[in-house]
């Protein structure tokens, strides 16, 4: 099997949510000397991007994208020590959670899975997370990005409360704040003092990458 074939199969296995095949193919690719970064980007992430497009187009739904994200993460778990050994650092450190008063988790979990799958270090605080918990986690993990989720319109005001908390703790300048959730719009994100907005889990990865690029420029 050529490297290209192996990567194509790997991408298909991620799309199909077949975690066992993904793990098998990642191990084989490593055994054949393929660089871990290439396996990640051209195999695993390529497969996830493909199903992400189908999800965005309304052709597949949450069950399919959830099993794909699980398969992606199963592959990443095998790759991680190799990425480290190759000296490839995480693309950024992310703290993520659903804001206080809201207990919705699936969208936030998908964003966390995809960020992790795309090479970010992710600290998931769960749901109904208080401003103080977010601020402490940003400080303790030296986070580059704080990703906040709210599916309820009543709790989107928590975004601003968390941003204020970061200001008070003197952490605001060193962390990019990304927000998302059904009632969230780009305008609301700006009003709440966020640096970025993503309409779905695939867009969240791109938004996180943009935030990291902007931080590196400054």
């Amino acid at each position: 099997m050529t490297d290209a074939n192996r990567l194509t199969l790997m991408a298909s296995a991620v799309e199909a949510g077949d975690d066992e095949t993904v793990v098998l193919l990642v191990r084989e690719a490593l055994a054949h000397g393929m660089p871990a970064a290439r396996i990640l980007n051209e195999g695993l992430v390529a497969g996830m991007e493909s199903i992400g497009e189908s999800f965005g187009a309304g052709d597949v739904f949450l069950p399919e994208i959830l099993v794909s994200a699980e398969a992606l993460n199963a592959g990443v778990a095998v790759l991680e020590p190799h990425l480290l050994a190759d000296g490839i650092a995480a693309k950024g450190r992310v703290v993520i959670g659903t804001v206080a008063g809201d207990v919705h988790s699936i969208g936030k979990n998908l964003v966390a899975l995809l960020l992790r799958g795309n090479g970010f270090e992710v600290h998931d605080l769960g749901v109904d997370v208080s401003e103080a918990e977010f601020v402490a986690a940003v400080r303790d993990n030296a986070a580059d990005i704080l990703a906040l989720s709210s599916l309820l319109s009543a709790t989107t005001s928590q975004f601003a409360a968390v941003v204020d908390g970061l200001e008070r703790a003197g952490l605001r300048a060193r962390v990019g704040v990304l927000v998302g959730g059904a009632p969230v719009t780009p305008v609301l994100a700006l009003d709440q003092g966020a640096d970025g907005y993503a309409e779905d889990c695939v867009a969240a990865v791109a938004a996180a990458a943009r935030l990291m690029a902007a931080r590196e420029e400054t």
């Binding site: 949510g17 739904f61 949450l62 959830l66 008063g101």
Partner: protein, 347 residues
């Protein structure tokens, strides 16, 4: 009930699907209703009856029995073993469920938990409101009961792809519970049930039509048939963009659909397409309008909604989900008054 039968009543009926306890107390304070003391075992039900009579509602919604047992550390457990944490705002946040695999379902029986005591509140409210007052009970649908047993919706959605047998076994157990509840509801003198379980997000359904037909529809059909055999109408409740499933819900035979979430479903379009086959219940926005709007804005939206949805019958005025503590009591009262002002049918 005429609206649910697809007939045109003398005016647009008003029934609020859910008013939680803090909102009930807010409304009672705004309307200066006497509040029963804690020594009254049916204080909440008594207050709800007073409220519907005071506001001139055309029916009352009754919550399903939910016994949440305190188990310490801000945690509670329901009668089937799912564990919740009380959130910072007092909501019950699902933490864990008792079913991890098919083996856990062996000997797991939900239906035997149903007892006549579960309908004590119904009988109490029937006594308060009289024999002819329409009473509707809110019942959680098998899809939602299943994900509670699995400790989270995400687990069940992954099961849809990876563990079909488990999904069907969960649907069987939960449907058997619903069938027992339908029997109890009919015996207690209820007129209708709302079968409640969100199957859509704002952008799209949570799962495909294929999965709906495989895992959801057959069980809903059983519940619908059992309800019809006992003379109960069934309103299906799902938030979100349910457009792709509307034909299915009508084929199943549900009499009503709630709440037609205004952020993602235009009630005028739904009325045009399905209004002759389904009673529409809800649509008055409780996310922004009833929380942050003015009473004049509420009046205008109710007037427009009634104009779109009520012609020919088949519309029940209600909020787009529930009356929660964020809703201004004055706006809710304005919604009801506007419904009464604009809801008369001329013929």
């Amino acid at each position: 009930m005429a609206a649910l039968r697809g007939e045109q009543p003398d005016r647009v009926p008003i029934v609020e699907t859910t008013v939680d306890l803090p909102s009930l107390l807010n409304l009672a304070a705004t309307l200066r209703l006497p509040t029963p003391g804690p020594e009254d075992g049916f204080a909440e039900q008594r207050l709800a009856c007073r409220l519907v009579l005071e506001l001139g509602f055309d029916g009352i919604m009754i919550a399903e029995p939910l016994e949440l047992e305190e188990i310490g550390q801000d945690r509670v457990r329901d009668r089937f073993g799912s564990v919740y944490r009380k959130s910072l705002h007092g909501d019950a946040l699902l933490l864990d469920g008792p079913i991890a695999s098919l083996a856990d379902l062996e000997g797991f029986d939900m239906k035997s938990s149903v007892s006549p005591d579960d309908f004590d509140a119904v009988r109490f409210m029937r006594d308060c409101l009289g024999p002819a007052y329409p009473m509707i009970m809110w019942l959680t649908a098998p899809f939602k009961l299943s994900w509670r047993l699995r400790g989270g919706m995400q687990n069940l959605l992954v099961d849809f792809v990876k563990r079909p047998e488990l999904v069907h076994a969960l649907a069987r157990t939960t449907t058997d519970l619903l069938l027992a509840m339908v029997e109890g509801a009919a015996a207690a003198g209820l007129d209708a049930i709302i079968l409640a379980g969100d199957i859509a997000g704002e952008q799209a359904p949570l799962f495909s039509l294929r999965h709906f037909r495989e895992y959801v529809r057959p069980y809903y059909e059983e519940i619908r048939a059992a309800a019809r055999a006992r003379g109960l109408a069934v309103i299906y409740h799902s938030d979100g963009n349910v457009w792709p499933f509307m034909e299915e819900l009508i084929d199943i035979g549900f009499e009503g659909f709630n709440p037609i979430q205004p952020q993602c479903m235009d009630i005028a379009e739904v009325k045009k397409k399905f209004g002759s086959r389904l009673c529409l219940v809800g649509n008055i926005d409780c996310r922004d309008l009833l929380c942050f709007g003015t009473e004049e804005e509420v009046d205008r939206v109710v007037r427009e909604t009634v104009a779109s949805a009520a012609p020919g019958g088949g519309y029940i005025l209600s909020s787009s989900n529930s009356i929660h503590p964020g809703v201004r009591p004055e706006n809710f009262i304005a919604m009801v008054k506007a419904g009464q002002k604009y809801g008369a049918y001329s013929s």
